[in-house]
């Protein structure tokens, strides 16, 4: 532990001036409201606090007496002064309450014609639905334009929290919860396309996923704001994070959406399938290296015979894979729970095709890898199915 002291001190010393502030960057119309009220309350509280502390330590020093001395006064009450200090501060409370409630109503009053996005929260990740089958873990919005999020959860309670926007809302399964905000500060494009390509190539080599914290920009090169899950939701609650990118214009945003809307004609289905695997939340339940997660691993899945929970077994052909994506509860792989949500209506035919191609490519890799992996595959029944 001792070797951490220098690290801690460096980190403290490293705080630049902007980092010393109480808040993350203010990036939405709510931020300035919220911060203003926060500062107001803080100042009022500080005034009271300082007065109380002066009195507390002042009295403790001034009236400190040796054992056995009598107090100077034995006044037992003074109704006037007690009423003053009971009622007086209440006026300040009313002010705080009023501005707080006003700010809150702004949060609740969703403006007409706000840009509508869907949010799916699941253990442990986010899917932002941009319509037209584009679902992506990053939240992309337009600056200066109100954005409305319609949020659902597939499993337990989550809470969408964007500190820079000062907004938070629980996402309760079985309900639709809404949130809106108007971002004010657009993200900057800080990495060039060439750099991005190099980094992507590097990641592909090491099989690493994009490290937002270390790089501080998205795979598209934008700076971003953090988005957290704020309601405890289990093992990887603290990793249930994504980023918010604010585009300057609607055109920018739409261009970005287009980029992800379908497979570019130049790309092979399998490699696009891998992207979907990363992007659409498959990877939080299905491994590609044979590890058993919530769902069966995709390694060595395609074409193999898989035992089902019902006792039958089925060959994991294209039809089976397709059914498992669209109607996961139809055939449950042995050893797994029927917890996968249906992706019906969320993936285009081409998407499903790409995913299946990707799964097949994993099987081929495993097959060429040798017999050892095949044996592993047998030891881990399941796969495929449902999940």
């Amino acid at each position: 532990m001792l070797n951490m002291i220098p690290a801690a001190i460096t980190l403290l010393a490293d705080q630049t001036e902007s980092k010393l502030s109480l808040f993350p960057k203010s990036a939405s119309t709510f931020s300035s409201d919220s911060d203003w009220i926060f500062h107001f309350i803080t100042i009022v509280a500080l005034i009271f606090f300082i007065a109380i502390v002066i009195a507390l330590f002042g009295f403790a020093l001034k009236y400190k007496k040796a054992k056995g001395q009598q107090a100077e006064s034995q006044t037992d009450h003074n109704t006037t002064i007690e009423l003053v200090w009971s009622i007086g501060p209440s006026f300040l409370l009313i002010v705080m309450f009023y501005f707080g409630a006003q700010g809150f109503l702004n949060h609740r009053t969703i403006p007409e014609g706000a840009y509508d996005l869907g949010v799916d929260a699941y253990k442990w990740g986010w899917g932002i639905n941009y319509g037209k089958f584009v679902i992506h873990p990053e939240l992309h919005v337009v600056a200066g334009e109100p954005t409305k999020l319609t949020m659902t959860s597939k499993d337990v309670i989550h809470s969408l929290y964007i500190p820079a926007f000062r907004v938070k809302k629980d996402i309760v399964p079985g309900r639709f919860n809404y949130m809106w905000f108007k971002a004010t500060e657009p993200s900057e494009k800080i990495a060039t396309d060439e750099e991005l390509e190099q980094l992507a190539a590097k990641d592909a080599e090491t099989n690493a996923s994009w490290d937002y914290d270390a790089r501080q920009f998205t795979p598209d090169g934008y700076s971003f704001y953090d988005l957290y899950c704020a309601e405890y939701c289990g093992t990887n609650h603290s990793q249930m994070q994504t980023v918010v990118v604010v585009h300057e214009t609607r055109e920018d945003l739409e261009a970005w959406i287009k980029k992800y809307s379908s497979r570019p004609s130049t790309e092979s289905p399998a490699s696009y399938g891998e992207k979907l695997y990363q992007r659409r939340g498959c990877k939080s339940c299905h491994s590609i290296d044979g590890t058993k997660l919530v769902g069966p691993s995709w390694k060595d899945l395609a074409g193999k015979s898989r035992p089902l929970a019902s006792g039958e077994s089925v060959t994991a052909d294209e039809n089976y894979l397709r059914e498992s994506i669209l109607n996961p509860k139809a055939k449950i792989a042995a050893g797994f729970q029927p917890v996968m949500p249906s992706y019906k209506g969320q993936l285009t035919d081409d998407d499903i095709y790409s995913l299946i191609e990707y799964i097949k490519s994993l099987g081929e890799a495993g097959a060429s890898g040798g017999e050892t992996t095949a044996a592993e595959g047998e030891g881990q029944p399941a796969e495929a199915a449902a999940e």
Partner: protein, 589 residues
């Protein structure tokens, strides 16, 4: 007049009782006489030992949390040792279980029974001038229920842990594979322990007051205990049924809370916080009572605004039932409901503020002796003020949208629960220790512990306010690197706080062996518990106590010759030596 002698024209009124040969600790021997005792004092001492053990366990878990958060990717539970200890659990899982058990044990096994059950059991009858609580057997059974609840928690810990957070929110708690049923059964049983304690105190205070003990002659600690008991009796049954339904939900899927079966998780939150918010006041109100006693006694000055403090306790108890919704501002309640809950939340802050001002006014022009309990009392006012004022940020809706479920909340309630209740509990233990065990502790050691606890506490939790306002969500096992500096600072503070608590423990334990014998009234206090010997005899009072004003310090004088406080009275033949009892009323009042 000279210090330490009886002034001219006065005489020592009450030379003190002769020390009886036996006291409650020695009048019968053997473990079984403790286990089956009906004596409220012994039950109080057993509670004290029990809650201290619970605190020790939960405190170690807290250190585990802080040490894990030393580094952004987690530190402690990434250690090889934990891989060996729990091979099938990820570090995140261990962290989640540790913070859950820290919270659950602290809340259900330590804070709720700490002052009311441990100190309350010892003090309520003595302060009141009664021989015992109204239902001694019920009292013993609540202690054993506490033990049973604790056993359930230990079983949960040993079975497969608990990772739901102490709030057991559905649907997470109905789907996780940890031992939720064991833990909720434990909490259910502890709830009944708490109900029976509260019921006992209400009846005791209502019917067991001796002649002369009117409502407004009761020490403020009794007022606080009374308010607390009201909350315990009214709120805890709702927790009981909520946990019962949760258990049924988990076993039979009754579909009341679980959306999978068409239930509604937000209903669970309403049910849960209907108990658990008043429970916050179960935790803090007794601390208010303790501090009122401590400030007044160690300032040797009448408490300022007795009635305001007494009424504000009751006000907090009642208002506390109307504000549970402020735990759910972001859960998606109706706008109007949310705003009303916010307004009600602000009203609770008023009676809390009244108390702080009254304590300051009590110190004003007092004769303050900086004893260990007084040091803790001053620390309490400082810390509780911060805790209370930061509550304003959270009660204000617009800022709560940002701060809810962040470290700001964590810091806020630790300032209230630890900086408030724990510090008051320590102050109370130091204050009544001579009465409970008849030994004086090392004063300097006690003061050092108070200073270390104060500094360590602030170092731990002040940075967390900043973490929260910068957007660090709570219950995170790992975090973004930009928060690392403040987290490290907080961890160092936690270690310091741990050292302070250890010092306090050592000082108290050493006193049992090496401490001087305590006089009946070591602080010069006027409440009844100081009128019996230290430690008290089995029936508390050898003779029926004379009930006087609990805050009249004018007739208490330090006698340097015998090194103790004595009660004096003017030398006049005509005045009767005892005040006539004010009213014989007791039962049913």
């Amino acid at each position: 007049m000279s210090v330490g002698s009886v002034p001219a024209g006065y005489e020592v009124k009450d030379p003190g009782y002769p020390t009886p040969e036996e006291n409650y600790l020695t009048n019968s021997r053997g473990l079984l006489t403790w286990v089956f005792t009906l004596d409220h004092k012994r039950i109080g001492v057993m509670y004290l030992v029990g809650v201290s053990l619970a605190f020790l366990i939960a405190g170690l878990l807290a250190l585990g949390i802080r040490l894990h958060l030393f580094a952004p990717d987690g530190w402690l539970f990434n250690n090889e040792f934990f891989k060996w200890l729990a091979p099938d659990k990820a570090p995140n899982d261990i962290y989640n279980q540790v913070f859950t058990l820290h919270g659950a044990i602290m809340v259900f096994l330590f804070i709720i029974p700490s002052i009311p059950a441990a100190l309350g059991n010892f003090l309520v009858p003595v302060m009141l001038g009664a021989k015992d609580v109204a239902f001694p057997r019920l009292n013993l059974s609540s202690f054993f229920l506490w033990v049973a609840g604790a056993v359930f928690f230990v079983m949960a810990l040993l079975a497969s842990g608990l990772d739901t957070g102490w709030t057991f929110y559905t649907p997470y708690s109905t789907t996780t594979d940890t031992s939720v049923i064991l833990a909720t059964s434990g909490a259910f049983i502890l709830g009944f322990s708490s109900i029976f304690t509260g019921l006992n105190f209400i009846v005791t205070i209502n019917t067991m007051r001796p002649p002369g003990m009117t409502w407004f002659r009761m020490p403020l600690f009794l007022w606080a205990t009374y308010s607390t008991s009201i909350i315990q009796v009214l709120a805890t049954p709702v927790l009981g049924i909520t946990l019962l339904l949760l258990i049924a939900e988990r076993t039979m899927h009754i579909g009341i809370f679980d959306p999978e079966y068409n239930g509604d998780p937000v209903t669970y939150q309403h049910f849960f916080w209907f108990y658990s918010h008043p429970a916050v006041y179960i935790m803090i109100l007794p601390a208010f009572g303790v501090i009122s006693e401590l400030i007044s006694v160690h300032s040797h000055k009448r408490i300022f605004g007795y009635r305001f403090i007494a009424y504000s306790s009751i006000a907090i108890a009642l208002l506390g039932f109307l504000v549970w919704g402020h735990h759910m501002f972001t859960a998606g309640m109706g706008s109007m409901t949310t705003i009303i809950f916010s307004a009600l939340t602000f009203t609770v802050s008023v009676p809390s503020a009244i108390k702080v001002f009254n304590w300051l006014a009590t110190m004003y022009k007092g004769a303050i002796t900086m004893t260990t309990p007084m040091c803790y009392a001053i620390a309490f006012i400082f810390l509780f003020t911060i805790g209370g004022l930061t509550g304003l940020h959270l009660g204000t809706l617009a800022t709560d949208m940002h701060l809810h479920d962040t470290y700001f909340v964590v810091a806020h309630f630790h300032y209230v629960m630890v900086g408030g209740t724990l510090v008051a509990f320590l102050g109370a233990v130091f204050h009544w220790w001579p009465k409970m065990f008849g030994r004086m502790y090392n004063e300097l050691g006690g003061q050092i512990s108070a200073v270390i606890v104060f500094l360590g506490f602030n170092l731990t939790f002040l940075p967390q306010f900043v973490l929260g306002s910068r957007g660090m969500p709570r219950r995170y096992a790992t975090y973004d690197p930009e928060f690392a500096g403040l987290h490290a600072m907080s961890t160092w503070g936690a270690l310091l706080l741990g050292i302070g608590l250890l010092v306090a423990l050592v000082v108290l334990l050493v006193s049992l062996v090496k401490g001087k014998k305590a006089p009946a009234n070591p602080w010069g206090a006027a409440t009844l518990e100081w009128a019996c010997t230290s430690p008290p005899p089995f029936y508390n009072f050898e003779r029926p106590p004379v009930v006087g004003d609990p805050y009249e310090f004018g007739d208490i004088q330090w006698d340097a010759a015998s090194e103790r406080y004595v009660k004096i009275e003017p030398k006049r033949e005509t005045v009767p030596s005892e005040k006539p009892a004010e009213s014989p009323a007791h039962a049913g009042e």
